[in-house]
């Protein structure tokens, strides 16, 4: 549950709580009129009265995962300088053997529900994103929301992957901090992936260790049947072995929450990279514009002074088909001068844009860093607490078993 201030049309100020409270299996028809099964999630919004802290349900609607994706893609396009919170994974990855990789599995659905709630809370608590109209409508307008988003035309505004890749390779002078940040996000992604993979294997093995102990339960029971004095002790010790073996299920379920916290930051690394890419794009754009401007200026100069230093098509054709008239040359110079003026304006605004982008992006990145440090520390603490609990349970069970053995 999170409190946030949200403005709608800058007129009202509300404190609201958001929760994804339920998940439900649905069947429907998809775009190609084929029947499909999907899960819908219930989003409830409550406004909290200042004075008495009572909350009133103001909105409640159902959304499916693809709608969350749409919202996020929209935010990515309209807020390229923001580290946009990630969604929980689309398909279950880093599974260890017991967890199902099936999207319909109730455990997976439950963890996804929590992840989606977390996403909404992150957006709602972001000082800039929380003000977005489309986000507000996502929470309040069930019907027609998709159309409303598409009407913004954000898909057209999105930078193509190719363009972005091109910029990454050819940009000459990106801000150093962004180079470092990109490097960091690559490394972070790599190390968290590795961590999650190994953790899954560790969980798998730990499961095996605990479950095999269950066999002691059975054999001690069988053995106790042929013993006189040893029988009772063995039998009750066997029971504790069964308890031990069964305890691993809850332990590992708790650990999945830790893994989910790590996963969020794994996906956040991608969001960081997106901001870096945007910077590279704007920077490249700026550099290209500056280059073009410089080229035009030179062309102009050459025309004016009559020297041809640079190769130009016009120059070639002039050579081939005859000199142009002074009037033609004047016209060309004038056109170039206009273009140069325009170009200088554009460069100025692009420069400004670029600097704004860097400033705003960097502010959000600092905010993100603090959030990350805080969240991951909390995650590590809760992981340590889980381990402590597991150790204490282990000591308890074996102490009980030892007492049973002592009575043999």
């Amino acid at each position: 549950m999170n409190f946030l201030h949200m403005t709608e049309n800058n007129f009202s100020l509300k404190k609201i709580e958001i929760s994804v409270s339920e998940a439900e299996k649905r069947t429907g028809r998809n775009a190609m009129n084929m029947q499909e099964t999907y899960t819908a999630y219930l989003i409830e919004t409550r406004s909290v009265e200042h004075s008495d802290g009572q909350s009133v349900l103001t909105d409640s609607l159902w959304r499916r995962y693809s709608e969350f994706e749409l919202l996020r893609n929209y935010l990515l396009v309209y807020y390229p300088h923001i580290v946009v919170p990630p969604l929980p994974e689309k398909r279950a990855e880093f599974v260890w053997h017991k967890l199902s990789a099936d999207n319909m599995d109730p455990d997976f659905v439950e963890r996804r529900r929590i992840g989606l709630e977390n996403f909404l809370l992150r957006v709602a608590s972001h000082p800039i994103l929380c003000r977005d109209k489309i986000f507000y409508l996502f929470l309040t307008q069930e019907g027609n929301w998709k159309e409303t988003v598409n009407e913004t035309g954000f898909q057209l505004k999105a930078d193509s992957r190719l363009k972005a890749l091109n910029a990454t390779f050819r940009v000459k002078n990106p801000d150093k901090r962004f180079i470092e940040l990109k490097h960091y996000s690559d490394e972070l992604q790599s190390v968290i992936s590795h961590l999650l993979r190994v953790r899954a294997r560790v969980a798998d093995r730990l499961y095996g260790v605990y479950k095999v102990h269950g066999n002691y339960g059975r054999v001690f029971s069988e053995w106790s049947a042929i013993e006189k004095e040893m029988g009772d002790g063995l039998q009750s010790a066997g029971h504790h072995m069964d308890v031990y073996a069964a305890s691993i299920d809850d332990i590992l379920e708790d650990e999945e929450h830790y893994a989910d916290q790590l996963k969020e930051y794994l996906f956040y690394a991608e969001a960081l990279r997106a901001v870096c890419r945007k910077h590279e794009l704007t920077q490249y754009d700026l550099e290209t514009a500056a280059q073009d401007l410089a080229a035009k200026k030179q062309q102009c100069e050459e025309l004016a002074t009559g020297t041809v230093r640079t190769f130009s098509l016009k120059g070639m054709t002039t050579k081939l088909f005859g000199q142009e008239t002074p009037e033609q040359r004047e016209a060309r110079i004038k056109m170039l001068e206009e273009q140069i003026k325009e170009g200088e304006q554009q460069l100025k605004s692009k420069n400004l844009e670029g600097r704004e982008f860097v400033k705003n992006a960097w502010a959000d990145i600092e905010r993100f860093k603090e959030q990350k440090n805080h969240d991951l520390k909390e995650a590590l603490i809760s992981y340590a607490v889980m381990q402590i609990s597991m150790c204490k349970k282990g000591i308890q069970v074996w102490t009980n078993a030892k007492e049973c053995f002592s009575k043999m």
Binding site: V209, W223, I226, E229, L380, A384, W398
Partner: protein
């Protein structure tokens, strides 16, 4: 020391000292028992009566209590490198107030084949008794180093157990071969003399092997047999489970050893999170070490004792079989007599001797079985409590590691 062999049942009769037996005079039915001071009975009452059996059991209690007069320890393994071979010897220290020992204290060195010799001699000379098992001669698993510290220590413990079990046995502990083993400077010289010391009973039991079919195993021995069969089965299962657990724990350990360092790698990327992440890495490292200690302990202490009990119950079963043979021989001979048409069927001496042998055997076996059951209960109690203890210690080490890291994680870092 010369031993007279007239009595058919080789019981504690043979080697006596006033000290140990003096107490018996208080026990009921002690009149039946052969009295101390070397006297052998004129072949009258069979010592294998229930009252003497009772005495033997009571004697065991005395030996476990304050009247211990024989202490044997196996320690100090040393490697010997000779031209022909390399082997390990163990120091055997004996402390005793028994008359049978010339000195109050002895210290000799013995190697595995000496123990093997002793066991064979005991089996030959005490066929009606259960002889404790030795650790296996050859290592089955193949690629185990015979001279590694762990292997030698495991073996030493088993050999120590072996001698202690003989020490605790009211009959076996007085065996002359045992005495020689504990005291002789040069055992090999004695080994050569060995042949002369073979007992008549030993001989006769050997000859019985094969040839006679037992019709009915008495109920109590049948029960013992069934018990041993099931017991061995259950132990086998426990052995397999224990091995499987160790295997799973080792695989878990392998993953942990990769898991911990990843936190270290991550720590190198971070600023404020560097210390907490490094701390978690170290913590996992400590848990890994604790786990390794657990698996080592289980491999070295738990599994060998378990396996030894399987061997022990196998030994007991073979003694049961020998007993069956003795009974079979007796029954066959008895039948042969019955079939002979005689007016006054007189039970010939050798059939009587057979009966004595059988009854003696039965008594010894029952006594040994009782002792075995008692020891088994104590041994398993200790073994299983030990297993629980090791697991508790493992979790306690891990708990300590994680608890100590919580303050580090919660620490507010100074802004850089």
């Amino acid at each position: 020391m010369e031993i007279e062999r007239d009595p058919p049942c080789p019981g504690p009769v043979r080697v006596m000292s006033v000290g140990v037996w003096g107490l018996d005079l208080e026990q009921p039915g002690s009149q039946d028992l052969i009295l101390p001071n070397g006297g052998t009975p004129a072949g009258t009452a069979s010592p294998a009566s229930s009252s003497s059996l009772l005495n033997r059991l009571q004697l065991d209690d005395d030996m476990d209590g304050e009247t211990r007069d024989l202490f044997v320890t196996v320690d100090d393994p040393k490697k010997h490198v000779c031209t022909m071979e390399t082997y390990i010897t163990y120091r055997i220290t004996t402390k005793s107030t028994r008359v049978e020992f010339d000195l109050p204290e002895y210290s000799v060195r013995r190697r595995y084949q000496d123990f093997d010799w002793l066991r064979n001699k005991l089996e030959e000379s005490q066929p009606t008794h259960l002889i404790p098992p030795l650790p296996e001669k050859f290592v089955v698993k193949g690629v185990v180093d015979r001279f590694s510290e762990e292997f030698v220590e495991t073996r030493r413990k088993a050999l120590d157990k072996f001698l202690k079990r003989i020490t605790d046995h009211p009959v076996l502990s007085f065996n002359e071969h045992f005495n020689v083993f504990l005291t002789a400077k040069d055992l090999n010289a004695h080994k050569k003399q060995g042949m002369a010391l073979l007992t008549r009973v030993g001989e006769s039991v050997k000859h019985v092997a094969g040839g006679y079919k037992l019709r009915n195993r008495p109920l109590e021995f049948a029960a013992i047999g069934e018990y041993l069969d099931t017991f061995a089965l259950k132990l086998g299962t426990i052995d397999r489970i224990a091995q499987r657990i160790i295997k799973e724990e080792i695989e878990y350990l392998v993953e942990l050893r990769e898991y911990g360092p990843v936190y270290s790698t991550w720590s190198a990327l971070e600023a404020e999170l560097a210390e907490p992440l490094e701390g978690v890495s170290a913590c996992i490292g400590n848990c890994s070490t604790a786990l390794e200690e657990l698996t080592d302990d289980m491999t070295e202490d738990f599994l060998p004792v378990l396996r030894e009990y399987i061997l022990y119950s196998d030994s007991m079963k073979s003694v049961l079989k020998k007993r069956d043979q003795v009974q079979a021989e007796y029954e066959a001979k008895l039948e042969a007599v019955a079939l002979r048409k005689e007016e006054r069927p007189k039970v010939p001496a050798d059939v009587e001797k057979c009966q004595d042998r059988m009854e003696c055997f039965n008594a010894d076996l029952k006594a040994d079985m009782e002792r075995w059951q008692n020891n088994k209960r104590q041994d398993f109690r200790q073994l299983l409590m030990g297993m629980a203890d090791k697991n508790i210690q493992y979790y306690e080490k891990c708990l300590l590691a994680w608890e100590s890291i919580i303050p580090l994680l919660q620490e507010k870092q100074e802004a850089k």
